[in-house]
């Protein structure tokens, strides 16, 4: 093969693709070239000089252009007079590299002596000790003594808060700039830099607040010394004392793989677990630091029953008996139609499966749902048909792929997905189109930014469909309801009309349609801010079908679902109109969450597991407090639990096992990290099964994987999802993380989980086209649109209970553009009153220099739930705004 190059490293022959760096070629044959500044995920810079090796190339005869041979017929190698950095030098044909030669070893020794001139050598009290590349390479390669003057060491403060979550010990830093480059190249938050020069050089952050990034924890992982440590692990434990348990993050739909480092029944730290298909080797700070709720003193520890205004503790047996009796008698008197259930989308598949089975088989009703709060904001019925193909890897797509993002602020909603989409464009040249109603961080990495008016996303999507067809770029129109050349008979979504509605130009619409249709691969992501109109989903589905971007890897749709198991909740049939596996219910099904919680709802009793509808609206709270009997199972005494008749303590994700299905339909297992649960907490599936048993059902479930075994039998989509398949270690080539090279020090198996296939992947099935007209635009020229997006650090209970991130929780405030602030004559920090439908809310203003005019942002799910009062169950609405003058 022409693109392969053969060379020798310490006389061992190795063949690698052209462009490979010497350090990577050596890794391939298991030869370790020590590095500090080099990192496989970052651009090489050659700063630390640790990787010096001797490099020789064959002497070429100038007349024959062939290598000159010696007496034994071997090519003569001429070695460069000076050592070369293996981390920046690509291989060349016939190259000879000496890694362990005397000269190379001497160089390494010298470099280490330099790197250690000001190092405090405090490994015994350093959190990195035991998993520190500097410590290990020093013991392996350095001289035992130093010739530098001890008195001349450079001193810096020992625990400088570089940001709220990261502590810097500058004396340990070796200025490798991995942290700075991670922030610049991967996180796209350039908030770290080196200030001053030479021995005074030090790491600084001047953002406000300091180290303002959702990804700061990763810098502590990849720092090759103990200079950067996380606030919650400082002096927490020695790394070798930890038990490392593989788990999956439960904070958003990305499903990052992580490891719980536990000791004495406590989680000491959370680190990423490599999965190149999901999170690579990264975690966002919410996932890394938001685990402290597991050990919160506010956790429920015993079953509680209501006694007037109070709760009293009781035994499980009493509580279960009481629930069974009440459920049975209400069913008897009011019928199953008066009973309903709501389950949160961060419960595991096993919990959710039994939850729906309980309602459908034991209670005999379809009144169940998971769509309250965030889960009600974004529904996705496209995954079953045209979700991204099995084997999709956003970590690898590049130039041949067009990615269209509609209405999602990935950096806030699904941080690690943001990193991967940004890198696809920034590092690998994917054609990224970011369409949204306001500026988001992803704009900076997008090739094209489309700014539509809020509410018009479905029009844009149909406009793209129409433009693809008109330009003759449709690949598959079989069964397509719109006539190819003539849109006359059907609604007109010509670029001109759509441009007038959306505010995006005709040229942009046509160019986007062309770019998306003609790219070999196409992926669409859509999120909360695209709106809840089913028309949008139908249009996006049509778009990927006619462009042939469905049913294969790196093609299809990803909904940026809000919760860890939003996908699983739909898969498991926590919907009033669908059985597990998206089987429609012939009778039409039961009541939705909104119907069950509405004023005058016929529901008399409910079981609510891991959801808190009472915080969402006053109406919900009223309905819930008027129920005859309410059972809540949760970690905390939530607002909903406070209204309950019986409250049952549930185990947290760290205390039990189970599976989550992520937003790419990847089913992943998590294991028990803390075998001793808080108090008498039970896993949710066990609670549900026990209620069923007390009601006379013959349910013998004994473990989460037992429940999954039943799911694999009954839900064809999940037929391969047995625990043993999910935890099987993965193919070797994707395993690359090694603590010297990438910063993950513990040995945890890499597993990738399994995706279930979509209908489009079934070659015998044809996905039918749907046409749903978009909702009418109420006011095409609104004065001010208030958007209530999701932010990473909101006031969700799990996060609010994680003490270490307290300072990060977003305070209620509205962002206004400069133009709008100037119009109102208000300054940063002043108050405004926003009103809609007679509801008024007063909040301080923060002027946002990059926000577009006519858009105000007040995130949802903050303390006080102010945005919800104005926009209700939607994500945006037109509001009136007044400055508060006093």
């Amino acid at each position: 093969m022409t693109n392969e190059i053969t060379l020798t490293i310490d006389n061992i022959e190795v063949t690698v693709p052209q462009g490979t760096l010497i350090v990577e070629a050596a890794k391939k044959i298991g030869k370790e070239i020590p590095v500090f500044c080099y990192h496989g995920k970052l651009e090489p810079v050659g700063m630390c000089r640790m990787c010096l090796v001797e490099v020789g190339t064959p002497v070429i005869d100038q007349t024959t252009k062939q290598p000159t041979l010696d007496a034994h017929g071997k090519p003569i190698i001429r070695f460069a007079p000076k050592p070369v950095t293996a981390c920046t030098t690509p291989v060349s044909p016939g190259m000879a590299v000496k890694v362990d030669s005397e000269a190379a070893l001497a160089d390494r020794k010298a470099v280490l002596e330099f790197l250690l001139t000001s190092h405090p050598l405090d490994c015994p009290v350093c959190d990195k000790g035991g998993e520190c590349p500097l410590q290990d390479l020093t013991t392996r390669h350095a001289a035992g003594t130093s010739r530098f003057d001890y008195e001349d060491k450079q001193h810096f403060p020992k625990k400088y808060p570089l940001g709220d979550l990261i502590v810097l010990d500058m004396e340990r830093c070796i200025i490798c700039t991995r942290c700075v480059r991670f922030q610049n190249e991967i996180a796209h938050d350039p908030v770290l830099a080196i200030e001053e020069r030479g021995r005074h050089a030090h790491i600084v952050s001047y953002s406000k607040p300091k180290f303002n990034s959702h990804y700061s924890g990763n810098t502590a992982d990849i720092c090759p010394v103990g200079a950067l440590t996380t606030r919650d692990f400082r002096f927490g434990a020695r790394s070798w004392e930890l038990t490392n348990v593989p788990t999956v993050c439960n904070h958003c739909g990305v499903g990052c793989n992580m490891v719980l480092g536990t000791r004495h029944g406590e989680i000491k730290r959370v680190m990423p677990r490599q999965n190149e298909l999901v999170n690579e080797i990264w975690l966002c700070d919410k996932g890394r630091f938001g685990h402290h709720f597991n050990g919160s003193p506010q956790r429920l520890t015993k079953p509680l029953v209501r006694d007037g205004e109070e709760f009293v503790e009781t035994s499980w047996d009493e509580a279960l008996k009481m629930i069974a009796e009440n459920f049975a008698s209400i069913k008897e008197t009011n019928g199953a139609a008066a009973m309903g259930g709501i389950a949160g989308a961060h419960l595991s598949n096993e919990d959710l499966y039994l939850f729906q089975k309980f309602f459908r088989e034991v209670i005999e009703t379809h009144n169940l749902d998971h769509r309250v709060g965030l889960s009600a904001m974004l529904e996705d019925d496209t995954a079953y048909t045209v979700g991204v193909g099995v084997g999709t890897n956003l970590g690898q797509v590049g130039k041949e792929t067009a990615i269209l993002v509609v209405g999602s602020d990935l950096d806030q909603e699904a941080p690690i997905l943001y990193l991967r989409v940004a890198a696809a464009s920034f590092k690998r040249g994917a054609h990224l189109i970011n369409a949204g109603g306001r500026r988001t961080k992803l704009d900076a990495q997008a090739k094209v930014t489309l700014r539509y008016r809020y509410g018009t996303a479905p029009y844009l999507a149909w406009g793209l469909v129409s433009a693809v067809v008109k330009q003759g770029l449709a690949k598959d129109l079989q069964g397509f309801p719109l006539n190819e050349d003539d849109f006359g008979g059907l609604p007109d979504y010509s670029a001109t009309k759509v441009a007038a509605i959306t505010g995006i130009s005709v040229a942009e619409i046509e160019a986007t349609a062309k770019a998306f249709a003609s790219a070999p691969n196409g992926i669409v992501l859509f999120g909360l801010e695209a709106g809840h109109d089913p028309s949008l989903r139908a249009a996006l589905e049509t778009l990927v079908l006619i462009t042939g971007h469905a049913g294969k890897p790196n093609n299809g749709i990803i909904a940026v679902l809000p919760q860890a198991n939003s996908r699983g909740a739909a898969d498991m049939g926590i919907l009033p109109h669908r059985l597990p596996g998206y089987v429609p219910i012939a009778s039409g099904g039961g009541l939705s969450a909104q119907e069950m919680l509405a004023d005058g709802s016929p529901i008399k009793t409910m079981l609510i597991a891991g959801a808190d509808p009472a915080v969402e609206s006053e109406t919900y709270r009223n309905t819930l407090s008027n129920l005859d009997f309410l059972v809540v199972q949760d970690l905390f005494l939530t607002e909903t639990a406070k209204l309950a008749s019986v409250v049952l303590p549930a185990k947290s994700v760290a205390e039990r096992d189970g599976t989550f299905t992520n937003l790419e339909r990847r089913v992943q297992a998590f294991e028990v990290g803390l075998p001793l649960a808080k108090g008498e907490a039970w896993a949710d599936w066990l609670i549900i099964a026990s209620i069923a048993r007390h009601m006379g059902a013959d349910w013998g479930y004994a473990s989460a994987d037992g429940v999954m075994a039943e799911i694999t039998q009954l839900v064809p989509l999940y037929r391969y999802m047995k625990f043993e398949n999910l935890v099987a270690p993965t193919a070797l080539e994707r395993k690359t993380a090694h603590y010297i090279y990438e910063g993950l020090s513990f040995t945890a198996e890499v597993r990738e989980g399994l995706q279930w296939p979509t209908l489009a992947e079934d070659k015998t099935a044809k996905v039918p086209f749907r046409f749903i007209p978009p909702a009418e635009i109420q006011n095409p020229k609104p004065n001010l649109i208030l958007v209530a997006p999701r932010v990473l650090y909101d006031d969700g209970r799990l996060l609010a209970e994680s003490e270490v991130v307290k300072n990060h929780l977003v305070k209620p405030m509205v962002w206004l553009s400069r133009a709008d602030a100037a119009k109102l004559g208000i300054a940063d920090g002043e108050q405004v009153t926003m009103s809609r439908h007679g509801v008024a809310v007063t909040v301080p203003v923060q002027i946002h220099r990059l926000l577009n005019e006519g858009v105000a942002v007040l995130p949802r799910n903050l303390a006080g739930r102010l945005a919800e009062q104005l926009v209700g169950a939607g994500v945006y609405a037109e509001v009136e705004i007044q400055p508060v003058r006093n």
Binding site: P190, V191, L192, A193, I194, E195, E196, R197, V204, S205, Y206, S207, R818, A827, D828, G829, I847, R849
Partner: protein
Amino acid sequence: MTKNTRRLLVLFIKNLIFLNVDRQFAYYNIITMWTQQEQQELTEILKKYPADRKMSAVLPALYLAQREKNWLADEDIEAVAEALDISPTHVHSVIGFYTLFRKEPTGKYLVQVCTDLPCALRGAEAFYQRLCQRLGLSPQGGTTADGLFTVEEVVCIAACDKAPCAQINLEYYENLTDEQMDGVIEQLRKQG
């Protein structure tokens, strides 16, 4: 009115005015830190660089931002960052790399006297100390009470053969005697 209440009242009124000014300032602060003249010059500077490579203009932009008071306050740094679409941290790191950018209040004239070895051999150390004394500064240097001069010791400014030497803002003064230095200081004082 007792003396104390009067004092409180004055304080109160001062505060009122101050708050108002402050708030106004905050308002403009967000819009721009540049004077009209500077804004124009900045636009000219930016024309020399491709639109997506504004960050290349960081050095000239910093000189411009520092011109008026001879040092850079946080607000100036933020204004540069904003104008060039880069992070304030990045601008700080550039400032930290170059010795001619100052982040502490500095006199209008920055007098840097080299006392490195070759200059010291020609009496630069004593020359520097006498200068400090005449300006009423401690031997560590510092800024004169009128805010006009900041004096400091530096290492080699590449005029070793003409010691004692000093750099005042961007100008060099070489083969200096005390009298000559006094003349220069006098001259600059007159210019104000």
